[in-house]
Point group: C2
Chain length 329, copies 2
Amino acid sequence: MSSIDPINELQKLLYGRLELVDQLSLKMMKSENAPRIPEITKHIFSSGGKKLRPLMCIASAETLNYKSNKHITLAATIEFIHTATLLHDDVVDESSTRRGKKTANILWDNKSSVLVGDFLFSRAFQLMVSTNSLNILEVLSNTAALITESEVLQLTNIRNIDIDLKTYFKIIEGKTAILFSAACETGAMLATNNIEHIKCFKEYGRAFGISFQLIDDYLDYKGNTKLMGKDVGNDFYNSKLTFPIIFTLSKATKLDCLNIKNLFKKPKKSKDDFDTLLNILNKYSSLESTKNEAIKWSEMAKKSLLSIPNNKLKKLLEEICDNIILRKL
Amino acid sequence: MSSIDPINELQKLLYGRLELVDQLSLKMMKSENAPRIPEITKHIFSSGGKKLRPLMCIASAETLNYKSNKHITLAATIEFIHTATLLHDDVVDESSTRRGKKTANILWDNKSSVLVGDFLFSRAFQLMVSTNSLNILEVLSNTAALITESEVLQLTNIRNIDIDLKTYFKIIEGKTAILFSAACETGAMLATNNIEHIKCFKEYGRAFGISFQLIDDYLDYKGNTKLMGKDVGNDFYNSKLTFPIIFTLSKATKLDCLNIKNLFKKPKKSKDDFDTLLNILNKYSSLESTKNEAIKWSEMAKKSLLSIPNNKLKKLLEEICDNIILRKL
């Protein structure tokens, strides 16, 4: 594995395109009538995400030698959908910080976050219509529907201590992996009519996204608050059952299972509760197992690209699969 | 004007099509994974709206002799967008009843309303993509963006006692009229390539929608709680400045203006406050003026159809313009 950060490498290599995505995004964020909209969207866009999804969309198209500029529009579309879901997620999760900054629902209010999320969502549809491709529109509208469906599935499984891994994977595939998958698939669709190649990118994005979410769930127990800019233990405090817990429940003694259940049932959870839970997780090496599961998916992502012709961009897309495992935020 | 209710007439005449819209809607509401979705959507779809928007979409297409079945999909799309905005509106307005039933945000919670609204919104996009028409997609995605933009504009003008009629009309055109306009315009687009005819239906829907919202604002001061299934005075209690108030402020003495401003400023408003406000409105015949403004727009809607060939459906579309003025709920 390269010692250079492949995400930085991609960002450098595709700098010009990312600039165009930013320009288009800024234009589409504008609202003459409602100045609250650019206020909130600027806040959330400028909070320093890595722009991983637009980056992967552009890289997928250009790995297949795409030479035109519709991937700029597509990348902005993907980022708008992502940002809209972040705004609504923070309302639903009652989050107060994201990437070290106060969330929009705290700085303004829930109402603004709901409506500005809707605005970004509808702007995403305007953008995707402007690509003039019904095939791409179909993929992206199906993606949006699956994301929202999975968010509801997640909400209705809050505090459901009996949730199984099948449901967990259904949730993360829908709420996270599908957007990575759509970013790569539609990027490839712009570049080629080769159905097999398009499938490779679709599968690559999906497996990458699952790995990404597993590491997210891992870091929520293992991460460093200062680095991540959000609190460790959020999933526990919000009674969200994720891989480390579901895995432990499938391995642990009856007594440990009962202890976990009682901790999750508590309406007010303390730092001590979190530490008690961590001790049980460590007893079963559950965090290591979560990381290993993420590595499995990351390897699958890399394998998905096997039949794609080699070039520098493809190599970087493979390398970010390893990199995502090492991420600390 | 006919003594028969033209909306009932349209519903009878287009019964078969409305049945198909219902079937399609039910299919698109389904979610194998997240049963909360059909629970909530059934609740809101079955709460007995008149289905005015899908009705007008279908009637517009068939007035122009449309013979195929894409208007079924289009009508369902329009109703899904409408229902999604209702779910989010109720969260933003903190409403507890709609059409005499408890709202979803009360029966379930705000989180579910936000996410299920998102789901319906994305389902609407799946539906519209299935019409395979990029022109229609463009109109509808622009419509969705304008609706959400106007909702934000409305939110940021809550308690803004200095709001002028220009801003008021911008808000109601965006939050209400544009969807009626898009319903009629896209219905016509399916039926004809005649740009003038399409424009007529677009303008018809817009003027109808403005009239519809003016009557809504009128009824919020004048209506009958039992009949309407929602409380009179909502706009006042939510500090929403609408035509009756903005009109009064433009006509009233300094003292009356000050009284109105003070009433709106109160953080907790009582029934007595509402009655005091009503007395001031009556002094300037503001509710009659609101109704007259609605009649003006309703007449404009009728005139928009002048160049459209006469038939039974066109006659009913004209008649609902008069009917909307008489509505009591």
